[in-house]
């Protein structure tokens, strides 16, 4: 079912670790939090999990796993340790809440399932139910985007653009559930499987041929962790860029701002989509695209992933979002462009004070379309 490397015999990989420290050097949580990812693997070699609670600091950015010279997949080892903790029942209440919500309400925020498509009902144009379509192209919304009034704009904007471009698509309405990406990373393997199976059975039920994922997290789960039964999935920036390139949608207004693009871990370093979001921004007249010193595969994680939205962090330390926003300010950026709801939420919280806007690419492009 799973793609290469996700669930294969992982103990072998643990023993293959040569303790080179590449993972710790790559980890955005090293030094400032107690998490030492190399030590996690080391302890696992000896079967001891004494510092196990530290595993909750991981943001699942994937840098360790991408760079590990021995392909040990440290972030996956960590998930296995989280799994043990989940199975033992000894997890913090905030994580527990997210998991229980995902089991009962099918989203970690515990929002009503019946309200999942409220964002669509509030739109001033019609968004179709996938069941009413001939072309089975599904717009898959992330839980945060479905429920958070701030992030609601992402599905609404993308829907608007797709509708305008004449691309037929539909949504699953109340049947849509969490993709499980974060759930798997929280170590709740069984729950991930349930969410995955329910999603896949919905995909099958409606004969879905293509999925447009709005969140890189959903994109990642469907693409890499759902196995062969899942239909093809694209991230919305890929579609938008294609529409722009082919002239199907056109930029009609200027967006005279300095925009620095922040690569989301699950879109960039983990799935190699670096160009499309940049291309979209570069296609907008008046927009000056800036780059962080840490960009593309070196992009600094916003710390929203891997369940960190739900982990009750006891320690006080500088959030990456803060250093990210400071750098944006030094660069003279007026807007931080993102393509992930988690990055939007985490960065915006820091950026507000500094007078820097954080905008999803879909927001910027919607403002300037003809």
């Amino acid at each position: 079912m799973m793609k290469k490397g996700i669930d294969e015999d992982w103990t072998k990989r643990v023993f293959a670790c040569i303790q080179c420290g590449k993972c710790t050097g790559s980890c955005p949580e090293s030094a400032k939090t107690p998490l030492n990812i190399r030590m996690v693997v080391r302890r696992k070699q000896f079967g001891s999990v004494s510092a196990s609670q530290h595993v909750w600091y991981c943001t699942s950015c994937g840098a360790c796993t991408i760079r590990c010279p021995r392909d040990v997949k440290p972030s996956e080892v960590l998930i296995h340790i989280r799994s043990d903790l989940v199975e033992s029942g000894r997890i913090s209440t905030s994580i527990q809440r997210a998991l229980e919500n995902s089991l009962i309400q099918k989203n970690p925020w515990g929002k009503a399932r019946s309200k999942r498509s409220e964002w669509a009902l509030k739109a001033d144009f019609q968004i179709k139910n996938i069941g009413d379509l001939r072309e089975k192209r599904l717009l898959f919304t992330c839980c945060v985007e479905a429920y958070d009034p701030r992030c609601n704009v992402i599905p609404r904007n993308v829907s608007k653009i797709l509708t305008y471009a004449g691309i037929e698509f539909g949504i699953l309405m109340e049947e849509e559930i969490c993709c499980g990406n974060e759930i798997r990373r929280l170590g709740e393997k069984g729950l991930f499987e349930e969410l995955r199976d329910e999603n896949i059975s919905n995909f099958k039920k409606y004969g879905i041929e293509e999925i447009i994922a709005l969140s890189p997290h959903c994109y990642n789960a469907i693409k890499n962790e759902y196995g062969e039964e899942a239909p093809g999935v694209v991230h919305y920036t890929e579609i938008l860029w294609r529409l722009l390139k082919e002239g199907i949608i056109r930029v009609g207004r200027e967006y005279k701002k300095k925009v620095v693009y922040h690569d989301p871990c699950f879109l960039g370093k983990q799935n190699g989509i670096f160009e499309e979001p940049r291309n979209i921004l570069m296609a907008i007249a008046g927009t000056e695209l800036l780059e962080f010193t840490r960009s593309r595969e070196n992009s600094l994680c916003c710390e929203g992933g891997g369940g960190r939205m739900f982990y009750d962090v006891d320690l006080e330390y500088e959030r990456n979002a803060k250093s990210r926003v400071s750098e944006a300010q030094e660069l003279g950026a007026e807007v931080i462009g993102v393509a992930c709801p988690f990055c939007l939420v985490t960065l915006e919280e820091e950026a507000k004070e500094k007078g820097i806007e954080v905008k999803d690419i879909s927001e910027i492009i919607t403002e300037v379309l003809l």
């Binding site: 009034p149 701030r150 939205m309 803060k322 939420v345």
Partner: protein, 313 residues
């Protein structure tokens, strides 16, 4: 006229205001309010009761549900069946009422907040006040109810004739449950999830220097202070005071949010509060979508004025 037997809601020598709801309930049903009361000098509003039966028991014995059964049985034995056994929906009433009902196998409805005369139905909330049910009690005999605080108080009327006093003596005690003492909540480590009243401050507070004044306001109000993530991140308040998905989920009776815009993660941690009051100068702040009451104003000005008023008191 049939009577409603009210089990006094007393605690540590105090006759609770809530008892008036029970009187009001009797008045609405047009039955005589009878009160049973433990030994002790209670500030009972006697004029409300047709009959006051003082039980030869101390307060702690009296509110022990095992003894309550003995008391109630004795009253019924002596005066005949009441129309209803009435308790307040308090920590005592919620404990004693079902126990007595079970012992007597009577019908029971709890947390009654209304009565409809025409249909003779009792109104009870369900699903955290999301819906109400109009309930009818079937069959013969008396029933047991608990009454929601504040719902019938305004119906309470003094009676015209004199109150009759009775004494109930010679009751046995059930020794299987014994009161050992009261414990005040330890105050050292504040648990914001247990607070009834939270004063929560957010990014709008601006600078650290403002914090002590909010702490003063909280202490004047008798509120516990908490905050949203930006305030905690800046270490202006300890981590244990953080409300939100990455902090604590709280459900106080009153959540007074000052300078909190209402980010999703924060709202998830407090939206179930019984009453949310938001103070924010931005009328578009999402917090107003969740609040029951809103004040669109500078939080500092509100704070200063509140402090002033409270100090004057």
């Amino acid at each position: 006229m049939s009577y409603g037997l009210i089990m006094a809601d007393v605690r540590r020598g105090l006759f609770d205001e809530r008892n008036l709801d029970l009187v009001g309930f009797c008045n609405v049903l047009n039955i005589d309010p009878w009160l049973i009361l433990p030994k002790g000098a209670y500030n009972v509003r006697e004029a409300y009761f047709k009959r006051i039966i003082q039980v030869e028991m101390g307060e702690e014995e009296f509110i022990n549900p095992l003894n309550a059964v003995i008391t109630v049985k004795k009253v019924i034995e002596k005066f005949g069946d009441p129309f209803a056994l009435i308790f307040s929906a308090s920590s005592s009433g919620m404990e004693i009422a079902p126990y007595v009902a079970g012992y007597l196998k009577s019908p029971i409805i709890t947390d009654v907040s209304g009565y409809q005369k025409e249909s003779g139905t009792l109104l009870k909330s369900l699903y955290s006040d999301k819906v109400f049910a109009s309930l009818k009690i079937k069959g013969e005999g008396f029933f047991v109810i608990t009454v929601r605080s504040g719902s019938f108080r305004h119906e309470a009327r003094e009676i015209e004739e004199n109150t009759i006093y009775e004494k109930l003596e010679g009751l046995t005690r059930d020794e299987r449950r014994r009161f050992l003492g009261y414990i005040e909540e330890e105050k050292q480590e504040v648990d914001i999830t247990k607070a009834d009243f939270l004063l929560s401050i957010g990014r709008g507070v601006g600078t650290k220097d403002e914090i002590p004044l909010y702490e003063e306001l909280a202490s004047l109000l008798g509120a516990t202070i908490s905050g949203s993530r930006p305030v905690i991140d800046k270490k202006w308040l300890p981590k244990s005071r953080q409300v939100g998905t990455s902090g604590k989920t709280v459900k106080p009776k009153v959540y007074l949010a000052m300078g909190i815009s209402g980010a999703f993660q924060h709202v998830s941690g407090m939206k179930d509060s019984e009453c949310i009051i938001a103070v924010n100068k931005d009328p578009e702040a999402p917090i107003f979508q969740y609040a029951h009451y809103g004040i669109i104003a500078d939080m500092h000005k509100i704070r200063d004025r509140l402090i002033q008023i409270l100090r004057e008191k």
